[in-house]
């Protein structure tokens, strides 16, 4: 909605092209209040204002961590000194990605009654889901403090990789959700496809095992290279791990540059696609 002089709303005057991500961010700024309300609503529903609610939100990542820890102790001879930390961080980072993508995919459809009654930038639904997951993971990260203390890990300069990794994961999940949410309005089985895709990627991504189990000599180098090109989450989860362990990333620079630029470009294209199609897509709701 372009605002001309004297409060003229030039509705639908133009659909942004290359400026799409910037239009989105300015919408985000203008509707920040709404975003806050949406996020705090989700938090209230989740936590019911209680500490027990917080405990419940940690139950799944902790239970999964223990399960995978035991499995690995039995099945693997890999010597990862920080295994519980590796698994827990992987699972938390993965849930940020998976939940932003899956809830973003259905967000237009689930909010159809609101969308048909009042106009506001529809990407707000996706940003609010993403913001909620970012807060959720920030709260969950407190549980790793005892682990860090146990391993005597002090924060190093690497801790900067944490916000960078989280933002890149959020951007990646959002860019995919920009496509899937629009497609979901046209074909209601899109969400099943996303669910299956997320489930498969969970195993193909170093979520409950460290990256070097894939790239560390088990497969030929050129395949390891290809793997890093194709799976940006492998890079981002490893970033978040090394933010806490202080270990070197162990990812070649050319892979790093490719993965980050691919994510930025995908976000750009996704936001263009979303902004140019959402007004037409909501007719399907």
């Amino acid at each position: 909605m372009g605002m001309g002089g004297a409060g003229v709303f030039e509705l639908h005057a133009k659909r942004p092209f290359l400026s799409a991500p910037f239009v989105m961010f300015s919408n985000l700024k203008n509707n920040f209040q709404m975003l806050r309300h949406f996020i705090s609503r989700d938090l209230k529903v989740r936590y019911h204002n209680s500490f027990i609610g917080y405990g419940w939100s940690l139950l799944e990542p902790l239970a999964l961590t223990i399960t995978f820890y035991i499995l690995f102790a039995i099945l693997s001879d890999d010597k990862d000194p920080y295994r519980p930390l590796t698994i827990l961080l992987g699972i938390l980072a993965w849930s940020l990605f998976a939940r932003t993508l899956t809830s973003g995919t259905v967000s237009l459809q689930r909010n159809s009654s609101m969308i048909k009654r009042v106009y506001f930038p529809r990407e707000m639904f996706m940003f609010s889901k993403c913001g909620y997951q970012l807060i959720q993971i920030s709260l969950s990260l407190f549980v790793i403090i005892p682990l860090l203390w146990n391993y005597d890990l002090m924060p190093t300069i690497n801790i900067l990789l944490l916000p960078i990794g989280l933002i890149l994961i959020a951007m990646l999940a959002l860019s995919l959700a920009f496509f899937t949410s629009i497609l979901q309005t046209k074909a209601r089985d899109m969400e099943h496809l996303v669910t299956v895709g997320v489930r498969i990627s969970f195993y193909l991504t170093p979520v409950f095992y460290p990256l070097n189990m894939i790239t560390g000599g088990r497969i030929p180098t050129q395949y390891a290279d290809l793997y890093l090109y194709l799976n940006p989450m492998a890079t981002y989860i490893t970033m978040i791990r090394s933010a806490f362990t202080g270990d070197e990333l162990g990812i070649p620079q050319h892979n790093l540059i490719f993965t980050i630029s691919a994510t930025v470009i995908l976000f750009w294209i996704g936001s263009i696609y979303f902004m140019r199609n959402e007004r037409r897509a909501v007719k399907n709701l």
Binding site: M34, K116, Y119, A187, M190, N284
Partner: protein, 245 residues
């Protein structure tokens, strides 16, 4: 756009997907691409030209499926027209059903702020009218209870109360609604009359001749997505009566 025009529509056309509720699968999405576009879409609005001056009250009448509600949604910015240009001076608010975006787990008060933010009003603006909203709704102390404890009537009263206190510059009414008990219906009718008589520009969609003749400056008849009369009230009703048969 001249200063005294609030809403201007030029050659607005809008296609709508056929049987949109049964929208299907990824398979159809792929095979559907091969079909001609016109077999999947119907024309909901066709070459609408309309200028509505500031402060006027305009009625739209037409049989079901003639595109009345779609026209309001286009003005509200909800649907984008496929062709044509639309300009709206001021913030349009569509009043179609009350309680949009209400959250069961939030209190009535929190829902006031939430609804306000959805309609583009800041926390400060909402705080200023909060007391009026609560008073008009007659909810009383329940305002601090979660909305899941409300009756349907209470929810509707609060919803109406919020929207009517937002004092929109451009009010789009889809059927004049009646909510709550007899007392509240009287109150809300009076409030709608009040809004209609204020400086706000109002577009009303209705089937009711009595309502439209009593409050509208102009009435247009809509038939199969086209505006078919010039704005004259009697002409519109004449057409509507003959169109029904």
């Amino acid at each position: 756009m001249t200063k005294d025009i609030a809403i201007s529509l030029k050659d607005i056309s809008l296609l709508y997907p056929k049987n949109n509720k049964g929208i299907g699968s990824i398979r159809e999405l792929i095979t559907g691409r091969m079909k001609k576009q016109d077999s999947r879409m119907f024309t909901a609005l066709s070459e609408i030209n309309l200028e509505i001056s500031k402060g006027s009250v305009v009625g739209i009448i037409g049989p079901n499926g003639s595109g009345k509600s779609t026209l309001l949604r286009v003005i509200a910015g909800i649907y984008a027209p496929d062709t044509g240009a639309i300009q709206v001076q001021g913030r349009p608010t569509l009043l179609v059903s009350v309680g949009t975006g209400f959250q069961q787990d939030l209190t009535g008060r929190e829902n006031i702020y939430l609804t306000g933010s959805i309609y583009g009003f800041s926390m400060k603006e909402m705080k200023a009218i909060e007391q009026d909203i609560i008073e008009f709704s007659g909810i009383g102390d329940f305002i601090n209870d979660p909305m899941r404890t409300y009756s349907a009537g209470m929810r509707a009263r609060l919803g109406f109360s919020i929207i009517s206190n937002l004092k929109p510059e451009i009010l789009l009414l889809d059927e004049v609604m009646s909510v709550g008990d007899y007392e509240f219906r009287k109150k809300s009718r009076a409030r709608i009359d009040e809004m209609v008589q204020s400086d706000a520009t109002v577009v009303i969609v209705s089937h009711s001749k009595t309502i439209l003749t009593s409050i509208c400056d102009k009435v247009y008849a809509l038939s199969s997505g086209k505006i078919v009369t010039s704005g004259d009230v009697d002409e519109a009703f004449e057409f509507y009566e003959s169109d029904k048969e």
